[in-house]
């Protein structure tokens, strides 16, 4: 390279180049390493923001899922409440993680003033992303959170699920008013924090 430079440029001076390199190194070595007129100390700070999850139920859903008056021996009776996209579970926009929504009931539908129940095997539900109404077949209602069949999976803040339920009334079911409580739980996607 140096020979080439010498050949191309008769004025090329290798000593000057070496001098320049040496000067550059000297300059680097002599860059001030200490300015005693100030003193600087550093530390770090950190905070961990926990997951924040909030879901809400549409007003009809929050006011209770009604199936109306049904006859024994009938199947797949849709709830009257959750018609026409009326039952939605929405992940709030201030939720800061993606969310799975799972469902359980406190108990099978139980006759008021009695102990008779309508089995959960006949209480099914399904959900959609809200572009279509849920349809059968659905999932059997469980009295523990069902992590296999989720109402919604990996939902981003602001997303919703439209929900519907169907009920079978066994033949010979004693007349009366039956009720239970449904729990919708939002948890960070991939966890089983709902218990």
């Amino acid at each position: 390279m140096l020979k080439y430079l010498k050949y191309k440029n008769k004025n090329f001076d290798m000593k000057k180049l070496l001098g320049l390199i040496v000067s550059l190194f000297a300059w680097i070595l002599l860059v001030p390493i200490c300015l005693p007129q100030t003193s600087i100390q550093t530390t770090t700070s950190n905070v961990t923001v926990s997951a924040y999850i909030s879901i809400s139920l549409s007003t009809p859903l929050a006011s209770g899922v009604q199936f109306g008056q049904l006859n024994p021996g009938t199947s797949d009776n849709p709830s009257t409440t959750c018609q026409n996209y009326a039952c939605n579970i929405t992940v709030s926009s201030d939720t800061n993680v993606n969310v799975d929504i799972v469902l359980k009931a406190n108990a099978p539908l139980t006759r008021q003033g009695g102990t008779e129940t309508i089995p959960n095997s006949g209480y099914t539900w399904n959900s959609t992303d809200g572009t279509t109404m849920p349809s059968l077949p659905g999932y059997e209602l469980s009295t523990s959170y069902d992590y296999t069949n989720k109402v919604g999976s990996n939902l981003a803040p602001g997303e919703l699920r439209t929900w519907q339920a169907w009920l079978d009334i066994p033949s010979g079911q004693i007349a009366g008013n039956y009720n239970n409580t449904l729990y919708f739980c939002g948890q960070q996607t991939g966890t089983t924090d709902c218990g």
């Binding site: 007129q37 100030t38 100390q41 961990t48 923001v49």
Partner: protein, 360 residues
């Protein structure tokens, strides 16, 4: 014969009593120790001027007789010094206490810069090869320097020379005695005489430890702060929920986070702070609502100021605090309701600078 002479010389050196002053002061007419201020009229630290009363030198020592004594600029050795007196005083008599007081006779042509008052006691009227002594009095002022250290040599440039009124001294003469000393023993390693803004390179003389610079016997402006172990180990706010407001750090409580101005800092300082970035998540999202407060007396309990990405000279962590001062620091964070989950961190810089300046 030669051997005998050498042995005799060594013997004389060994038995010759070490020369020592028992007292050295710059005093006024009433015998009180006095400092000298910068006299704008003579542009010097001359005594007997509009600014300074007449000054006298008081020296005491049993072996002062027949020695020359004069005030000098020096860093402690006799290889580099500048005479400050008009004439050196030849000591021909001492009082019963082995002391003598004589006019300082400080020269307006030589006493140009701040210094620790020093004298040379020499066998020569030019004060060469003399013993150097320091008094506790000063020509009041200060120096700011820039220094580089490559491990074998220290290069020093005097950037600013400031008088006792805070004004820059503009007279430019080669009356700056720059001395490199060991920090522990104060032993002089090297010294040289220079001008303002003209660098000198001093040898460490093989010494690898901590060193200090003296300019005319004075330590230039030196500032050092340290963080308490708790603060130095990092501030942590713990795990917080979105929407949490003004949550104190977990560790900067009960006066655990202190910034201390070192005792060897030789000016009052302001302490300012900045952050390298707002608290930052790995995704790049940030939390800007980080706050701090400080106090000299008690643990701050309320957030006062938001952190800044540049040094905040309006809201100082401490203002005009003296060496040895402890500043108690507290910090808080509020979590926006839309903050993403996860770890956020940043780095906080505390900078101490000479009070009133913005040099950080």
């Amino acid at each position: 014969m030669k051997k005998a002479i050498i042995v005799l010389a060594l013997f004389l050196i060994l038995i010759y009593p070490a020369f020592a002053l028992t007292e050295f002061k710059l005093i006024n007419s009433t015998g009180q120790a006095m400092n000298l201020s910068y006299d704008l009229n003579s542009t010097s630290y001359k005594d007997n001027s509009i600014t300074n009363p007449r000054a006298w030198v008081k020296v005491c020592g049993s072996d002062l007789l027949n020695k020359w004594v004069g005030l000098v600029y020096s860093g402690g050795n006799n290889s580099a010094f500048k005479i400050v007196s008009n004439l050196a005083k030849f000591i021909t008599s001492l009082d019963a206490s082995n002391c003598i007081t004589f006019p300082a006779d400080i020269s307006s042509f030589r006493a140009l810069y701040p210094s620790r008052i020093a004298c040379s006691v020499s066998s020569s009227p030019d004060l060469s090869n003399g013993n150097i002594y320091f008094s506790d009095e000063y020509m009041i002022g200060k120096y700011r320097v820039q220094q580089t250290d490559n491990g074998t040599h220290v290069e020093v440039r005097v950037k600013n020379i400031i008088d006792d009124q805070g004004n820059e001294i503009t007279v430019n003469q080669s009356f700056l005695v720059v001395t490199l000393i060991r920090k522990d023993t104060k032993e002089v390693l090297d010294s040289a005489v220079t001008y303002k803004n003209v660098s000198v390179t001093l040898s460490r003389s093989g010494y690898n430890g901590d060193v200090e610079i003296l300019i005319n016997g004075m330590k230039p402006v030196y500032i050092a702060i340290s963080l308490s172990p708790t603060l130095a180990s990092g501030i942590t706010y713990g795990t917080l929920d979105p929407g949490d407001v003004n949550v104190s750090s977990q560790n900067c409580i009960n006066k655990a986070c202190n910034i201390t101005v070192s005792q060897d800092t030789n000016v009052n300082v302001d302490i300012v702070m900045k952050v390298n970035a707002y608290l930052t998540h790995q995704s790049g999202s940030t939390i800007e609502t980080q706050y701090w407060n400080s106090s000299l007396t008690q643990q701050p309990t309320l957030p006062a100021y938001q952190v800044s990405l540049t040094y905040d000279y309006t809201h100082k962590v401490a203002e005009n605090v003296s060496p040895g001062t402890d500043v108690i620091f507290g910090t808080w964070v509020s979590i926006p309701t839309d903050a993403a989950t996860g770890l956020y961190n940043n780095t906080i810089y505390f900078c101490a600078q000479e009070a009133g300046l913005n040099e950080c």
